[in-house]
């Protein structure tokens, strides 16, 4: 019904957070973490892309099924008051579940990147310069 609005809300928050973090990193002179060479704004951009991508494609699916319309009140469930609690319940269960699951998968991706970087010897990370 409107489950995609929960990850959409999270996407708005994480986009704002990414912008703030990006500005701070720029002020600090493009600070990156020593081990991975990846900034937190870049890591947050992965989460944003997952959330926005999912939200946009799910919105299309809801339009396809007639649950979202291009005229007010936009959500067909809100036209009937009896359906509003059902919609809110769906948002609280499926919508929150989606947002949490995507965030967990993103956290696992970040953890794998960190572990891979730790496992890679420093000599392999640094480009070879000059002869021996």
């Amino acid at each position: 019904m409107a489950c995609f609005l929960v990850p959409a809300g999270e996407a708005i928050v994480t986009t704002v957070v990414q912008k703030v973090v990006d500005n701070r990193e720029k002020k600090a002179g493009g600070e990156k973490t020593k081990k991975t060479g990846l900034s937190w704004s870049r890591r947050l951009s992965w989460l944003n892309k997952l959330l926005w991508g999912g939200t946009i494609l799910l919105a299309l699916e809801h339009v396809w099924h007639g649950e979202v319309v291009p005229w007010p009140p936009f959500l067909t469930a809100t036209e009937n008051l009896a359906e509003v609690p059902v919609m809110l319940h769906e948002m609280a269960t499926i919508g929150v579940g989606m947002a949490i699951f995507v965030t967990i998968v993103w956290a696992i991706i970040v953890m794998i990147v960190e572990l891979k970087a730790k496992a890679t010897p420093e000599a392999k990370v640094k480009p070879i310069s000059g002869g021996e």
């Binding site: 995609f4 992965w46 997952l50 959330l51 991508g53 494609l57 499926i94 989606m98 699951f101 995507v102």
Partner: protein
């Protein structure tokens, strides 16, 4: 059906992204993350609906297939807009210069 089709698109774009990595010139990372985001969300939707209501896990019919195709086309359009906006090969810039 749209879950299977989006998951397939995610797997294929991730494989192409990996082959081309670390070069991110054509924003394949963006495309694969769009597909993965939708795949993960629909997976949760399907699992929770299946647990709550039962029935078939996948909808296998013409309508669901057409929705799957529409979703893939829509994601490709978003990716192409992002690609044209950044114009990594400088094609649009060259066109403006009249080359």
């Amino acid at each position: 059906m749209w879950l299977i089709m989006t998951a397939l698109a995610a797997v294929i774009t991730t494989a192409i992204w990996y082959i081309k990595a670390p070069e991110g010139k054509y924003k394949l990372g963006l495309l694969s993350l769009i597909f993965w985001g939708a795949t993960l969300m629909w997976f949760v939707d399907h699992v929770m609906a299946y647990l709550a209501e039962g029935g078939e896990f996948f909808e296998l019919n013409l309508d669901a297939t057409l929705l799957g195709l529409s979703v893939i086309i829509f994601a490709l359009i978003i990716w192409e807009i992002a690609l044209l906006r950044d114009d990594p090969r400088g094609v649009l810039k060259r066109m403006k210069k009249g080359e």
